[in-house]
Amino acid sequence: MSLIVKTVTRLTVGLILLYGVYIVSQGHLSSGGGFAGGVMIALSFVHMMLAFGKETAFKKLSEAKALFFESLGVLIFLGIALLGLVGGVFFLNFLPPGEAFRLFSGGTIPFSNIAISLNVGAGLFTVFLAIVLLNNDSERK
């Protein structure tokens, strides 16, 4: 891509990633949540990849690593659900609810949000990588 695109990307990609993290971490307080924030995190990586090429993006997050984080997200979410069994019920909110509208409130909900954002963000980036790699290979033939 051109110099203008690269410069603008260098300035904005961190902000996009930060906004995604913000949406995830405030998911239990304001609108948003794990899914939307996870897609934003994936979009920041996609943004970087479109501007700087796939080698740069690969250095930051390779396909194997992305798959690892995706599986980790699902496992954390399942683990939170299974930890509820300690209290007797699947998906029991075993942590104290805390004071409403504070960052540390809502029991297990913030942790579930983080797990889902890992799952969605890494998963969608993996899909994008796979499709781009497939395209490149078919173009080379």
Partner: protein, 184 residues
């Protein structure tokens, strides 16, 4: 006022969808699809569902990027459209039957803007005190209905595993090598 804006957006979205289906150029079709998604996001925002609007716009952006990436440098020929009179008649017939079923069955639905609050009323009353989450959507998604979200996460996980299994490089390299050997 809101209803008026909703109707205008609805007409715009229908027009955009028709353009996306009918236009010959694939890139223009993707752009029209993106416009439909943006309209849908504004509709969700007007109906006071910011969570859904946020998810809709973000997923739409991702999808448009993937579609543009997939269609940009490729001269996919648009499928040859033959005139099929029987198909058109069948389509109109099915649409008429579906419209008749819809008009009879939609009568029993609660009217727009007055939802039946049998289960949701409990969530609204006890959501904050039971979970402590200020955003009730998050409380319903991850606490009351956590099981559904687990299913959704599993579906996404399976889809990603499937995609990366189908388009993985190792298997294709092997197939290419085999093909090269046959040609040689």
């Amino acid at each position: 006022m809101t209803m008026m804006v909703l109707y205008i957006l609805l007409v715009l979205m229908i027009v955009g969808s028709i353009i996306a289906v009918e236009i010959k150029d694939l890139l223009s079709s993707v752009v029209a699809l993106g416009a439909v998604g943006l309209g849908l996001s504004i509709v969700f925002l007007l109906l006071k569902a910011p969570d859904v609007a946020l998810t809709q716009i973000v997923v739409e952006i991702f999808m448009v990027i993937i579609l543009i990436r997939a269609t940009l440098r490729r001269d996919l020929e648009s499928s040859p459209t033959r005139s099929r009179p029987l198909g058109a008649v069948a389509a109109i017939g099915f649409i008429a039957i579906l419209m008749m079923i819809a008009t009879t069955s939609f009568k029993d639905l609660p009217t727009f803007g007055e939802p039946a609050m049998r289960v949701a009323a409990t969530y609204l009353e006890q959501g904050l005190s039971k979970t402590g989450a200020g955003n009730l959507v998050a409380a319903v998604m991850l606490d009351f209905r956590g099981y559904d979200t687990l299913g959704e996460a599993t579906v996404l996980f399976t889809a990603v595993i499937g995609v990366s299994a189908v388009v993985r490089r190792i298997g294709r390299k092997k197939a290419n090598r085999l093909k090269g050997r046959e040609n040689a």
